[in-house]
Symmetry: D2
Subunit: 142 residues, 4 copies
Amino acid sequence: MDETMQMMSMISESAQGPMAGMDMSAMQKCIEACSACEQACTMCAGSMSMEGMGGSAMCMSCAEMCNTMMRMMLRPMPMNEKDMSAMMAMLQATAMMCRACADDCMGMGDSSAAAKMCAQVCMNCADACDAMMASMKPMMAS
Amino acid sequence: MDETMQMMSMISESAQGPMAGMDMSAMQKCIEACSACEQACTMCAGSMSMEGMGGSAMCMSCAEMCNTMMRMMLRPMPMNEKDMSAMMAMLQATAMMCRACADDCMGMGDSSAAAKMCAQVCMNCADACDAMMASMKPMMAS
Amino acid sequence: MDETMQMMSMISESAQGPMAGMDMSAMQKCIEACSACEQACTMCAGSMSMEGMGGSAMCMSCAEMCNTMMRMMLRPMPMNEKDMSAMMAMLQATAMMCRACADDCMGMGDSSAAAKMCAQVCMNCADACDAMMASMKPMMAS
Amino acid sequence: MDETMQMMSMISESAQGPMAGMDMSAMQKCIEACSACEQACTMCAGSMSMEGMGGSAMCMSCAEMCNTMMRMMLRPMPMNEKDMSAMMAMLQATAMMCRACADDCMGMGDSSAAAKMCAQVCMNCADACDAMMASMKPMMAS
């Protein structure tokens, strides 16, 4: 999306401290992956509940974690040691929830097209969180 | 809750423009009702999905509207004509969704204790939104 | 985005009652506009607060309303008279808040690139909500 | 709040697998602490932005993490190994963010009553997350 690219260049320009000069491509991909995952999980949870299939609690929580993660990346933060550690922990938690949710939805993929797509988008989001963590590691000094 | 009362007195002290001197009791009750409704709807949607009962899409949307409404009231806003109108419209929409959700959950109240409680808490929240709108009307001058 | 189109066709196929056979293009555009508006408002609020410019309460509330609106559209709902009326009221409230927020951010557009983009994306979202309401009207029978 | 206690007993009764028979008091306290923290952070971020003090990005993200954490606890989940690990990781991330936010707001506590209260409520929430993690550990068997 055009807006996301524009926003990334603004965040990049205003980045301070350890974030200054950071390569923004990992963050941009992670924001887009979280947004897609929130949408797919919301639809999957809604359509499972409509079909009386149950089991959508994981998708609801996954949608909310992805939204929270996305918004955190969209806000310029001071990026001192404490809030960078909190962001790393949140990336870790999001990746774990995405993988748990993907596992669950994969099992329902034969009977539900929404669950099949949800599983794929969740895996993609988990990978994007991993890549974002990898890109932050060099900034978190010893 | 003690914190809510403390927060209300802070909001009251910092209120500006048409909000200055406003009676905060309607807002406090509405904040508490929205918070309880978000929690009950979240639990109701989750437990219905767990039991394979379906039908929880309305509860999920109701939970999110109540959360959005609650946060809007917790933020001091400029309170000019435009944003007060937007807040009135959001109160209206929230009250309507709470009543639609209450109707739905009432019908499932015999088989689910969570749905029964959800219906009651939704009705209560709709009434609190109505009272909040009534308290704002005098400030929205001609 | 590919996922959004895939999701729209799934929603379309599972649509029931008055929604069956509905043209989904207005809804797809509204979902995308809400998603972009949530992101722009979140970034705008965050960067204004970072620069000590204040005034971001409206952007925070606008971001949350757009997210709530987007999720509501992503969930297949029973679409009886009551919940369609609640959805119309929420579209109305979102459009109003987007216009109030656009007004506010337009005024800061000279000093902040984030606010300038935010104002444009808010106007676009308000228009998409209007178009969605127009597409729903024929289904809301007398 | 009465509703929270009622909801806890419902969750407790419907608990399955490793959660069955779990002592719910740690979860109830954590739900209440997350709810209070979301409210205080939302108000603190809003009032700082109103006073042009900046620095509220951390409070906004903390509010959203607490809301996401609260909703996760309100939903009965399958509670297999994978989703319990994801919940533990989310509790860990929330506690870290609450402590980072408390640090930040403590420094502004002299000039802002909202920030002073926010710092206290954040510390309380971090402790409640720690206690919840401790209560879950015995269930996460080797």
